[in-house]
Structure formats: C-alpha cells, structure tokens
C-alpha cells in the first residue's frame, strides 16, 4: 500500500478561521433571505477559494441538511467567452454525465432541470451555486446565469448565485450599470461581503491553535499537526499558538507603514510559514525554541513583503474600505 503523505506537505488541509466563520454567517443570512445573487470579494491568496471548496458547502450542509442543495463551480476564463462553453463548465462543475449537447439551449435546459430536480428535493426549494473566480465572468455568462435562474424560477425553485472573486468583481458591477445592464447588477451583484484576512493577534492565535489542537492526522489518531512534526516538544508543552505575539509583531513590522493600522494578513502568508517551519524544523527533541529571528526569516521566505507593498500600490485596501 502506498504511504500517504501528511496533508500539510500536500497543502491539502483547511483551517477554520475567523474570517471564514464571519463569511459563513453572512452566507447563511443571504440564504435565509433567498437572495438571487451576491458576491464575496477579497484580496488575492486570502483563502476565498479554500473557503468555497472546503468550508462553505460543508457548513451549509451542516446548518441546513437536506433543506438546501449546494453546488460549486470554478469559473475558467475563456479567450472567447460563449454561452455554450460556460454551460459546459457548469455541467462539468455539477458532474453532469451529459456535457456534450447539440446546442446551448439543450444544455441550458439540462442544467436547469438538474437544479430544479435537486431544488425540488430540498425542503427549502432552493439551490445555492458558488462561482469561484467570478471576477473574470463576462456579461454573456451573467446572462446565461440569468436564463438559468429564470428557468429554475419557473419551476418554483430559487437559484441563489454567490460569486466569489477578487476586487475586480466590484468593477464588473459598475460596468453592468454603465452598459445599461443594471438588471444583471441588481440580480447578481446587489449584495456583497468582503472576505477579510487575519486582522488581529487574537484571530492569528485561533488559526495557530488549529495546528495545535483541532487538526488530526492520521484521521482519528488524535495527533495534531504540531504534535506530528514536533512530538517531543509538544509533550513538553510547546504550542505554535504560544508564538502568536511574536508572529503578529513580525507581520506588523514587515507590512508597509500605511497598512499597519488596517493590517489584514492573507491566510496564505500564515499557512506557508507554518508549513516551512514544520517541514524544515521537524524534530523529535523535547526543546524547540522559535525565536523572532527564525520566524522573521520564515515569513520573509514567503512573498509577504512584496505582496503587501503591491496591495498598497494598487490601493486595494482603500477601495475595500471605501466600499
């Protein structure tokens, strides 16, 4: 039997963070309001896709059970966007067996039927579709979603489209209004929420605590990631969460001065240093000293500094705050 690698080495794990919790509550509010569409935007590498993939569907299923049908679609940008190619992408996203179709209308009806049937099965008669990378979606694709929504609506099922993307998605909304397609904006982009990064030492502690306590590998073994990589030190009381203060100071210091007051650390720049730490410094011995210089070195090994500077350059945080 092939030995399995640790999920941390494969980056195939997901930690529950405060922003995810916040966003899940927001999504639940939208679902309860049976909105037609909304969008979630946030900085790059902040953990949106991971949240859409690993957390939102699972948490919605946990909250609503069979009362709701949830699907996820990763939008793939096309050189020439067309209705058929987008529909094929949706069919692929929902794992439909018949992706090929004789025409766009057939495929559209097929997908709508699928949503209707799944929606009728759910008690709330509601289907939630998360569209990841939605910032690249063009007008024709929103029109396709509009058609789908109308077909589904005719059968008494509500299709709620929740687009997830970067800040560009906000511009899309304005573009629709300027191009006299305000109904698209009103339908899909009227509600919005910003997916934030880690904003305080408390939130960072919560994340690091995930490595120490809530993670588990091999499954059911009760061995957290920290315990797995630093077994001796872990037994001696070592926890990554204990380094929260030092680590937050490092993020604060390395961030550009203009960002320090409203600092949001993207999740990637927290996860990657921890992964480097676990991979490079894994040891059996009982003492482990993670001093500031080592942690700074590890954070610097990521693209954190450059990225934060680019954020300042692009005024992304300002835009977000304005909106």
């Amino acid at each position: 039997m092939r030995d399995e690698l640790h999920p941390l080495l494969l980056q195939s794990y997901a930690l529950y963070t405060a922003p995810i919790d916040e966003m899940c509550k927001q999504v639940e509010r939208w679902v309860d309001a049976r909105i037609t569409g909304a969008y979630i935007y946030g900085l790059s590498r902040i953990g949106k896709s991971k949240a859409v993939r690993d957390w939102f569907p699972a948490l919605l299923r946990e909250s609503y059970g069979d009362r709701l049908a949830v699907f996820r679609l990763i939008y793939a940008q096309q050189n020439q966007s067309s209705q058929l190619s987008f529909l094929k992408r949706i069919a692929h996203g929902i794992n439909h067996n018949h992706i090929k179709a004789s025409g766009a209308s057939d495929l559209e009806w097929r997908i709508a039927s699928y949503f209707i049937v799944r929606g009728l099965k759910a008690t709330l008669r509601q289907v939630v579709l998360f569209v990841d990378e939605a910032q690249y979606m063009t007008e024709i694709e929103f029109h396709t979603l509009c058609n789908l929504q109308n077909l589904v609506e005719d059968a008494g099922v509500r299709l709620s489209v929740i687009a997830v993307g970067t800040h560009q998605i906000q511009q899309q909304s304005q573009t629709f209004i300027l191009a006299h397609n305000a109904h698209l904006s009103a339908r899909f982009l009227a509600h919005r929420a910003r997916f934030r990064g880690i904003r305080s030492a408390g939130e960072l502690r919560y994340v690091l605590n995930g490595y120490d306590e809530t993670t588990d590998w091999p499954e059911g073994s009760g061995t957290s990631y920290t315990k797995y990589f630093f077994p001796g030190a872990y037994e001696n009381g070592f926890r990554l969460a204990n380094c929260t203060g030092i680590l937050w100071d490092i993020y604060y210091d390395l961030a550009p001065p203009t960002l320090r007051n409203k600092l949001e650390v993207p999740m990637e720049y927290i996860a990657t240093p921890m992964e480097i730490l676990c991979k490079n410094h894994a040891a059996e011995h009982e003492s482990l000293d993670l001093d500031k210089s080592l942690l700074t070195k590890v954070v610097r090994m990521t693209n954190y500094v450059t990225m934060m500077r680019e954020i300042v350059g692009a005024h992304l945080i300002d835009q977000a705050e304005d909106s």
Binding site: H96, S102, S113, Y114, I116
Partner: protein, 504 residues
C-alpha cells in the same frame, strides 16, 4: 466506476414506474443526443423496435436492463417492477401505451397499466386511456427521433401530456406505492397460476409464448368475464384432448400392439378437430398475426429439450401429425383463407426459427419442400413450381403443433404405447426407403444438407432404433436427390408404390 449523474434522479422514480416513463422523463429533462441516450439506456432508443422493450420484458428477464438499471440508479426491485412480465404474443399493438390521465399529468406511468385485463387506475379509479385526451391520437412508446422537449408532448396536437417534474413535486404517497406494488405482485401471482394450470410442466420459451397467444385474445376484451372466456375454451379443449388421449391409451392397452395406423389417425383427427373448433372460435382474423409469435416460439433450445426428453417418440408423433393435418385440411378448408393468405403474403411470414429443418418434410408432405433463395418461406412448392400448401394451413399446423406440444407429457404415454408400433406399420405400408438394411423414414433437403431419419430393425418388426442424421451434399447430388424425391412423393400421393433407394 464513476457514478452517472443526470438531471433525471433515481429518487424521482416511483414504485412500478415503467421504463417508458423513465426514458420519457430522461429525454425531457436531459435532452440527450442520440448517442448519449443509447449509452445510458444500453441500446439505441430510436430507429429500432424499442417499444416492447420499454414496456414488457418477455422471456429475456431483467438482465437485459443491466446498463439501464445502473445508469438510472434503480434498485433490483424497481427494475423488476419497471417492466411487465408478459409474453410477446399478448402485448398487442406495437408500443401501445395505456395510461391513467391523472397519473400521466403527474409525469408518471406505471408498468401495471399494461396488464391486459387492467381497465382502471388503482389509485384514481379512472379508466385507462390509449389516446391523447385533446386530439385522440394514440400515445405510443415509439421514439422516431430525439427532438428537444418533445417527449412529453402529443405527437399530433403538441399538447403537454404531463409534467416531467411531477414525480419530484408530488411523489406518490406510501399508501399509493403499496397499492401499486400489490397490484404488480398480484399480477405475477396470477401469471404463475395460469402457467401452473395450463402448463403443468416447466414453462420454457415456447410455452410462455403460447400463454401470450392466449392472453392476446383476452387483451382485446375489457371485462374480466370476457378475459376468462378464451382461457376457459382453451382449457376445455385441453380437457377434451386429455379425454381423447386417455381413450387412446386405453384402446392401446386393450388392443396391444395390434392398433392400426388408421385407428390412431382417427383418434388424432378428433383431437385436431376439437382444437380447431376452439381455435377458430376464439380467434379473429387480426389476431392471426400472433401465430407468427407461436411459430417463433419454437426455438432450437425447445427442440433440444424435447429431444432429450423423448427423442424417438417426438419424432414419430410429429411425423404422423403433419401428415394427418394435411389430409384434414384438404377435406375441411379454413373458412377465411383469403384474408389469412393476404396477411401472410403481405410479408408477415418469417422463416421458422426451429431446427432441425426436416420437419418441413411432413409439412410439405407430397413434394420436396425447400426454402427460397432468400431464405424466407413464402409458400411451399413442388419441383414443378406448383404450390403445395396454403400459408394458412401452414400457420394452423404450427399453431396446432404448438398446442399439442404443450400436452406432450400426456402425449408421451400415447407415443410410447401406441404410435411406435403403428409407425412401424406405416413405414412398411407407406413411405420408406431401404438402404443397406436400414429403413430411411424421411428425408429433407435444406440448402446443401440432407436430413434423414432411419429405422433400423433389431430382431422383430416392432422393435428397432430410430435415428436421424444429416450430411452435406454436393450440388449435383442435391439436384438428383431433389428430383428423385419429387418423383417418389408424387407416386406416393397418387397411391402408387414408393421406389426404394432413390437418391441415396
């Protein structure tokens, strides 16, 4: 294996919902291409005779639906309820769908509506319909082509006949499900009873087909009394035959081996007459088409089974029966020959499926019979081209043989006790060839193959060994043999003596 995900979900399928209904929903919701549809259903659904497959499963069982079952996620129980176990002969018009309007509006059609004697919906109590309620055009299970969004529409007036999301929106209640399943299981029990009453031996393909033939008559009648009528007639005919058989056996017992062929023939004639009387009573001309089903009921497997059962006596019984029937038909022609002739010459005649082909000898009887170059039997001709046998006679003979074979367990006694001896006498008197001390009882040429049967006496004339065999002929031999046989049988028909060793 990757799970098949379609817009048609397994949970939409209701209890006893028919394959036709599921396919209909699939065509509507998934709008597949022709290829996708054939991949999912396990066979092409357009351009072929799909109709019966969607409604009835016949002798082939549920194994033929393996791909379909897997694609749509049906359980084994759902699959067995999705088609009706009904013999082909009883299935009526090709692809005819009977439905309850209320159920169809819900997007649901149950397989139990195809039960021949079912006249109303068990859930709604409405009479079952066959036609569109708007224009009266028949609803059938035929898909001439996959047109987007047409599966739920009437072919003629394009009115929507139901809601494809109906079963998702309003699934059947537990009580309704139970009701439908009870009807289905009750039907299976009834079918089993019919099989047990009418066919005491194990039901093979042939007997099942005959049952279909009987049920076909019943399908035309709506009330249960009428439905029972043909069955009762058949049963009475069988009783009559049983009576005759017993009489024959008793006579044989009393007279021992001295029972003459004439005596046997006389008794068999009475059996045949009783059969034909019942046969004609319960059959109208339209239903004669189902005789083809009976003919096709003779499979090679059936023959082999009979051969294993009692090889010699089977052969002798047939030998005598065919000759006898031919004589009777000459004396008492059927009353509606012209209509049957029209139908059969209209292209309904298919080459019989059964083997060996030497049975054709006894059917053609007074001349060598052969298949046409195309391999299809249109009629039987003598070597000079004159037609020897009317197709209606041919059909009736087959029907009768089918009928008698169902009683074979009774006839076995008759064959063992009587026919063997009589046949030997018949051999001596009428048609036999002598070759190397073996009496060649009959031959028939099919293609380049000669089939023959031989009687080899052991020590007394009443005991011997009956065998048959075949060998390939070269074209010259074949021509000579055909010619010689024609001459021999012509002489036999005129009452002359049979030349021996001709053609062998």
């Amino acid at each position: 294996m990757k799970r098949v995900i379609l817009s048609t979900q397994p949970w939409q399928i209701q209890a006893t919902e028919s394959v036709w209904s599921i396919i209909r929903r699939y065509l509507e919701l998934d709008r597949p291409t022709t290829r996708q549809a054939s991949d999912i259903c396990g066979r092409p659904i357009t351009g072929g005779p799909m109709e019966h497959w969607q409604l009835y499963r016949g002798d082939a069982g549920v194994s033929q639906y393996a791909i379909f079952q897997k694609s749509f996620g049906l359980t084994r129980r759902q699959m067995s309820e999705a088609t009706l176990l009904l013999p082909r002969g009883a299935q009526g018009r090709q692809g005819e769908v009977r439905f309850c309007k209320q159920c169809l509006l819900m997007g649901f059609h149950s397989a139990i509506y195809q039960i021949p004697w079912m006249s109303e919906c068990p859930i709604h109590g409405l009479p079952l319909q066959r036609e569109c309620w708007n224009c009266g055009y028949p609803v059938n299970a035929h898909w001439s082509g996959i047109h987007s969004g047409d599966a739920y529409k009437c072919r003629k007036c394009h009115v929507y006949l139901g809601d494809p999301f109906g079963t998702a929106r309003h699934p059947l209640t537990t009580a309704d499900r139970r009701l439908l399943r009870n009807v289905h299981s009750k039907y299976l029990r009834e079918l089993e009873t019919i099989c047990r009453v009418y066919f005491p031996a194990t039901s093979n393909g042939y007997r099942f087909s005959e049952l279909g033939y009987i049920l076909h008559s019943e399908k035309m009648n709506s009330s249960k009394e009428k439905y029972l009528q043909p069955l009762e007639k058949t049963y009475s005919a069988k009783c009559e035959i049983r009576r005759h058989s017993k009489k024959l056996a008793q006579t044989a017992h009393e007279e021992g081996s001295s029972l003459r062929y004439e005596r046997l023939e006389k008794l068999l004639k009475s059996i045949y007459k009783s059969f034909r009387r019942n046969y004609e009573k319960r059959m109208d001309v339209r239903q004669h088409r189902s005789m083809n089903h009976i003919k096709s009921g003779y499979s090679h497997g059936d023959m082999m089974e009979i051969e294993r059962h009692n090889r010699d006596s089977t052969f002798i019984v047939w030998c005598l029966l065919w000759r006898m029937m031919e004589n009777i038909h000459k004396r008492f022609p059927l009353s509606y020959d012209y209509r049957l002739t029209g139908q059969i010459f209209g292209g309904n005649v298919q080459r019989p499926l059964w083997e060996p082909q030497f049975l054709g000898r006894f059917f053609g009887s007074i001349g060598p019979a052969w298949y046409s170059e195309q391999g299809a039997v249109a009629s039987w001709h003598a070597s000079d081209g004159s037609r020897l046998c009317e197709p209606d006679l041919w059909s009736t003979c087959h029907a009768f043989t089918a009928y008698l074979l169902s009683l074979f367990s009774e006839m076995e006694l008759l064959a063992d006790a009587v026919i063997r001896l009589s046949f030997v006498e018949a051999l001596r008197d009428d048609f036999q060839y002598e070759h190397l001390g073996i009496k060649i009882a009959a031959t028939v040429v099919h293609g380049n193959t000669l089939y023959f049967s031989a009687w080899q006496p052991v020590d007394r004339i009443s005991e011997g060994r009956l065998t048959w065999g075949r060998f390939a002929l070269r074209s010259r031999e074949r021509r000579i043999l055909m010619h010689a046989e024609a001459e021999a049988f012509a002489m036999f028909a005129r009452g002359g003596s049979t030349p021996s060793n001709q053609g062998l």
